[in-house]
Symmetry: C2
Subunit: 323 residues, 2 copies
């Protein structure tokens, strides 16, 4: 019987004796991403953070998929949401293959979510209990965040100015938190990340909540602070990473990565799992129409993601080390 | 008697028989920038465009300087506003040297405004009538916009996708307008230019008003569309240009210029006048604190301008040709 790839992980404690859950900023703790109550899935609406704490209730698998697609949650959010949505689909006696298909289609670029759901489906077909397969997945990712962020922390030097992009989620947040716990003095520069402002709404408040010195800048200022000598590392999450070191991440990352190369600043992308089989031409990039005000009637383009060629990527930080 | 540098220019007609005023988009026509009424200077509030047409009344030279400093107008706006403010200062019998000093200090990076005001002061000291010296300055700049945009037009090819930044004002707008009048099919990509959104509020609506195909993008998407092969030219105004081809322009321009270099796309900056005596270390760069919401309590940085080193600049478009 083929076991899913996360078998063998356990409750995670970092070297400091604090759990991953203790070290994370509030927005990234499990209950702040999604939870189950009275048979419904409640998903924290990241579009309203940090000013308003509001949860979107999803009564069906389709509603959960629609909410993911509508960017109610993003980054690492869809993975946790999809796991809980699958749990509820099983409890309601739905066809699990159909549920996995609907959820996977909600964010085609997010291959980690797709692979995890497919692996759970395999386990269940092989006789595994659905609930325990899902719990094992949660435990696996907590342990993964912990080990990847240990490597991330080792890349950070005392005195570093670090640029990031969008909301770089668990692995980056734990890396800088651990660097701080280890006495390293760091500054993080956070581009607001238009149009959805994940940098302004999620990243900067999360860093501030962890007591890390951070500055909000606009998306066009990244090269400016590189030129001023204030940035020593560029670090982002990745929505997808290929084994040839091609990275897919939020729009704006390509621009930053080119500027980092120009100024000789290393660029590290964090990846939960490398798409070892995929090639550049296999990447499915989501496109969206417009993005609301301020458009004033303009034709607006919105490619969600950039493809960053391997020549611009210093390393991909994975649980196995730096690729 | 030293004559000011704009002598000899006349009422400007482009080759098509249309005046510069006819060719400009509505926001850039003289009366849409500033006008005098009942002894007051009225300045169009660009921060409220395009949704609201509102003018700020300035009763004194200090009020005009404060409004310029508060970004009520920007780009080529401060020059026209300062000319009218000086005219009113003279009518009120104020000390002209003091008025020039107050107005020049309102935007230290804007050396075109400073030099023009200083030249008028010289003329008046040499016995010139203040009103006619100021009218001659207006005529000179209309003629300058016309000749610079003839050169700008010649750089544009049929089928070009052109990226710009912020609100690139008269010279760029006339260049693309003339390209369109000459039957060239072009597309312009306009970054919204946070935090003040001049791209979304001024540039895109102006291009649309001229019937030019244009797309609003966020500040982080410029490299994306270069990578997609959709951009053949990068063209901006400049707040300041040195004779060694160093350019100072709105924050974001450095990032774009680095990406343009990476993709082999030429970068042209328009300049009304080169600061031939200045060196890199003489440049006075304005800095601002924060920039309002969405900051959610964050520490925000806002360097208004980028310095773009000459190695990233293909050419500076001046009235004498391409530097």
């Amino acid at each position: 019987m083929m076991k899913s790839f996360w078998r063998g992980s356990a409750m995670t404690m970092s070297a400091s004796g604090k759990s991953v859950e203790d070290l994370l900023p509030p927005f990234l703790r499990h209950d702040s991403i999604a939870y189950v109550k009275d048979g419904s899935l409640f998903m924290r609406d990241r579009r309203k953070l940090p000013l308003e704490i509001a949860d979107v209730e999803c009564r069906t698998t389709e509603e959960a998929a629609d909410a993911i697609n509508a960017m109610v949650t993003q980054g690492g959010g869809p993975l946790e949401v999809a796991l809980l949505a699958l749990l509820l689909a099983e409890r309601r006696g739905e066809d699990l293959a159909e549920a996995v298909s609907v959820l996977s289609a909600s964010r085609p670029t997010n291959s980690t979510m797709r692979r995890t759901l497919a692996a759970i489906l395999d386990d269940v077909r092989n006789g595994e209990d659905c609930g325990s397969a899902i719990q094992a997945a949660f435990d696996y990712y907590d342990s993964l965040y912990d080990s990847i962020s240990d490597i991330g922390e080792s890349l950070i030097s005392d005195g570093d100015g670090i640029l990031t992009r969008c909301f770089p989620e668990h692995t980056f947040m734990l890396s800088v938190r651990k660097a701080k716990e280890n006495g390293k003095r760091i500054k993080v520069f956070v581009p607001e990340t238009r149009p959805y402002l994940q940098g302004a709404k999620l990243t900067e408040p999360s860093l501030r909540a962890m007591g890390i010195e951070c500055y909000l800048i606009t998306d066009g200022m990244c090269a400016h602070y590189m030129a001023e000598g204030m940035i020593q590392k560029y670090m982002t999450a990745s929505d997808l990473a290929l084994s040839d070191r091609t990275v897919v991440n939020k729009t704006g990352t390509l621009s930053d990565a080119i500027a980092a190369k120009y100024f000789g600043i290393p660029y590290y992308a964090f990846s939960l799992s490398i798409d070892s089989g995929a090639r550049r031409e296999d990447i499915v990039l989501e496109e969206r129409d417009g993005w609301g005000e301020p458009g004033y009637g303009a034709s607006m383009l919105y490619p969600l993601f950039d493809v960053i060629p391997s020549g611009l990527v210093t390393g991909i930080v994975t649980k196995e080390g730096i690729l």
